[in-house]
Amino acid sequence: MICFKNVSKSYGDSLILNNLSFEIEKGEFTVLIGPSGCGKTTTLKTINRLIEPDKGKIYVDGKDISQIDRIKLRRTIGYVIQQIGLFPNMTVEQNICVVPKLLKYNKEEMSEIVHTMLELVNMPYDEYAHKYPSELSGGQQQRIGVLRALAASPPIVLMDEPFGALDPMTRTILQDEVRRLQRKLNKTIVFVTHDMDEALSMADKIIFMNEGDILQIATPDEMLENPADELISNFMGKRSKNSEIPSLTAEDFLRTDVCTTYVSRGIRESIDKMARRKVDTLLVKNADEIYVGTLSISKIKKEGKDHKTIEPLVNPHHTVCYIDEDAPVCLDRLLNGNDSYLVVLNRDDTIAGLITKTSMARALADAVWGDSL
């Protein structure tokens, strides 16, 4: 589909691309990655002739692109940039139609394109088509940026760090969306990034560049297993295959700073304790230190007046797990149960602590990325 043959480019004395040769197959998602100044963006821009190489040839579908009119060439290749670059004077609809309009599609065709395109990203036509870019969030803007590149159904789409300016959450969502669109529409995508996570999660093939040279071309798995260069392994950091997530148990997620009380205590005293420790629930145990249930402030508010001790208000059905149970079991109970935290018990039914979503996330992060967090 795209074929580089001995492509070189330099500005003055500095060599930007050093005799590059590689091929990109049709329908493949190729990611160009490397440190700043490695030539990845330059490589990308030679494909739609925003930059002309000094030496070498680039073929698209077997045709030498230096022989194709560059303006016509660009209309057949989608292009998404990091700064998004939606035209501020045009509505969403007009922005999507930029290339179809240049190609002189008729009105019905363009209207149909806008409708199908917006549908692809779940942005209702009536709500969004007539908005201006400045009225959209960053994520929505870049969705439209992607749609603009796809509108005239180019077989190839170039993306230059398209999600670099987005917050991590939006970035993940858009990565998934673009990957889904790429598979659905069977596009050949060339994608530049300096984020290895992004490369690993999106690419069919990663081309790792440094100082104008290609260090390795491989699938994400191959690259994880056999990085060809120390620089690549550094780039991948701790993500290499052999560091599997260690098996964790409830103990690893435990928060031990819990507030407990005895089942025979008075209601007023318990409220006092909650207020002092700034919590809304207490773990309740009996005189033998055996766990009996939980006591929540809302329950006290509702029925507290009628009782002297807390005993009748204790909820014995709170979700629990044992300290040596496996992490996935606990996680499942935490995420799918009705309670916002788990009570963790020792095997002798005394209280060990609790697991909240926060403590879970923290422990998982520690396990994956080390104790640096």
Partner: protein, 212 residues
């Protein structure tokens, strides 16, 4: 008041009309020249670094001097007034057009190029629309100034509201001065309003800096 109007009413209407025509013609000519020149300079920024400072120095020559000099060469014809006013009106529009286009953020130009727009298409569909707020604010400055500069045309006997003002000053007649000055002020406000209307028509809300 009634007496005043019966005495000067005709003269006032004629003066307002002449003044108005001078402003409209001069601004139209200036606008076309300034926008074309501004676009040209934005294509060749190297020239702009010479041309724009030169013009801004010229702009500091008092209007009265320039009209006087032009009068010596061209005589007492309306064209003298129109040329003088046009030349003065060019600079604010030219500068705002040039700056407006130059300041279009590079990502829009890059996106336009990447989408396959020719340089002309980029200019017409992206650069000029993005520069429009700046161009129109240049137009407003020029127009308001031209309304006041056009007072000077009376100095060389070419009519307009200045005629009433000069006559009032020389005969110590305050009413006559007001009869010239107030319509001139109203005319400036009217043009300003007209341009505001144009701005609202032409520029999408999102591009207007004040969001109105």
């Amino acid at each position: 008041m009634k007496q005043f109007l019966s005495l000067y009413g005709d003269r006032m209407i004629r003066a307002v009309y002449t003044h108005f025509i001078y402003v409209i013609i001069s601004i139209s000519i200036a606008f076309v020249i300034a926008v074309l020149l501004g676009i040209l300079l934005s294509r060749i920024p190297a020239w702009a670094t010479v041309v724009i400072p030169l013009l801004s120095v010229f702009q500091t020559i008092p209007g009265i001097v320039f009209i006087g000099i032009l009068f010596l060469y061209m005589g007492m014809i309306p064209a003298t007034a129109v040329i003088a006013l046009s030349i003065y009106a060019i600079f604010p529009i030219l500068k705002n057009t040039y700056v407006g286009i130059i300041e279009v953020q590079p990502q829009y130009k890059e996106a336009a190029r990447g989408c396959g727009m020719s340089p002309l298409q980029t200019l017409l569909r992206v650069e000029i629309p993005s520069a429009l707020p700046s161009i129109i604010s240049g137009l407003r400055i020029s127009t308001v100034y031209t309304v006041s500069w056009a007072v000077l045309t009376a100095m060389i006997g070419l009519g307009g509201l200045g005629e009433l003002i000069y006559a009032g000053v020389s005969s110590n007649n305050n009413a006559l001065i007001f009869a010239g000055a107030i319509p001139a002020a109203l005319m400036a406000i009217f043009f300003s309003w007209l341009i505001d209307l144009l701005r609202k028509r032409l520029i999408p809300k999102s591009l207007r800096r004040d969001g109105k």
